[in-house]
Symmetry: C2
Subunit: 190 residues, 2 copies
């Protein structure tokens, strides 16, 4: 996978509004944006160090409590420009969207329908939980209505990411259920 230095731009992007620490960035990847990109703290700290060297960000220390130091990072002008250029870049091809469940499914020959259905049930569970979590997030931020009216620029990004993730999971679940029907039909012939 890995298009060129996506983590770099993900981090620059997360710093676009406020200064953040490595820990903050790690937390962000556990929220909405974690639906579309994520990284472990070890990779984030390493990348931050690199971005500092490249002078795309600068840092200062902030105390939280008596002794605990937070290293805060700010976008430099150079960093802002680099981010801006990247944001307007058009992709010239689509990357493979890796999906281990679908891969596994491709090899299902000789697996009994009952086992296959168990795999589907498991996937359906995971996806349903995720969808519910996403819908809760949506309701919390944008209310219960289908489409909120007043979206300022900040919320818009969040709105797009949440609706994208929700629509992805709904579609996945729909396909899972359709496929399970087909397997159940086959099952009677076994």
């Amino acid at each position: 996978m890995a298009a060129r230095r996506v983590l770099k731009y993900a981090i620059l992007g997360l710093l676009r509004k406020d200064d953040k620490s490595g820990y903050d960035i790690t937390s962000d990847f556990k929220q909405a944006i974690g639906q579309f990109w994520s990284a472990k703290h070890s990779q984030i700290y390493t990348e931050l160090k690199k971005l500092l060297e490249e002078e795309l960000i600068s840092s200062y220390i902030e105390l939280s409590g008596e002794k605990l130091e937070k290293k805060m990072y700010t976008l430099t002008e150079k960093g802002k420009e680099d981010l801006h250029t990247w944001l307007l870049t058009q992709d010239d091809h689509l990357e493979t969207e890796k999906d281990v469940f679908a891969l596994r499914l491709y090899f299902l020959k000789d697996i009994p329908s009952a086992d296959l259905l168990a795999l589907f049930e498991n996937q359906l569970n995971l996806r349903t939980n995720k969808l519910n979590m996403l819908k809760e997030q949506y309701a919390y931020h944008f209310g219960e209505e289908n489409r909120p009216v007043d979206l300022d620029a900040d919320d818009l990004g969040h709105y797009f990411v949440l609706t994208k993730a929700i629509s992805r999971e709904e579609n996945y679940i729909f396909w899972l259920m359709e496929s399970m029907d087909i397997i159940r039909q086959r099952q009677y012939g076994e």
Copy 2:
């Protein structure tokens, strides 16, 4: 990304029916299964070497033409068992489905609607082309009907992967168009 040794199992899976060369496996990743996993030839040859050492596959030479040697790989019993176990393994969590377009979108603050729409148009183009390609593949293998009746075990995997990919792209396109409507509405207020 990368759940544990997915490429290993992708390769074992591709060898489940027939013996294949590294080149054949590379080609497979450009076909249907490439919608959900892929790898470059350099990685594939390296992994095949590793799988040989682990005695999950064995190899022999086949001549194609006068001199050109194809190194063919076969699943060993050990390899078959390993694959079978993996196929029945349930995931306990979902990986982040990385999507650079959605990531970029999250950071769209201060980008003019016109530029934003250009990014969407580009994505819409790429996705539409992909969808058409997938639909052609579907028609070629399963005909024009909505749901084929007679699917044997081999075709079923292929069927699932193709319908999954088609449904994913249709859903993506639907969401793109919905989002573009919202942006166009905002645009009048600028």
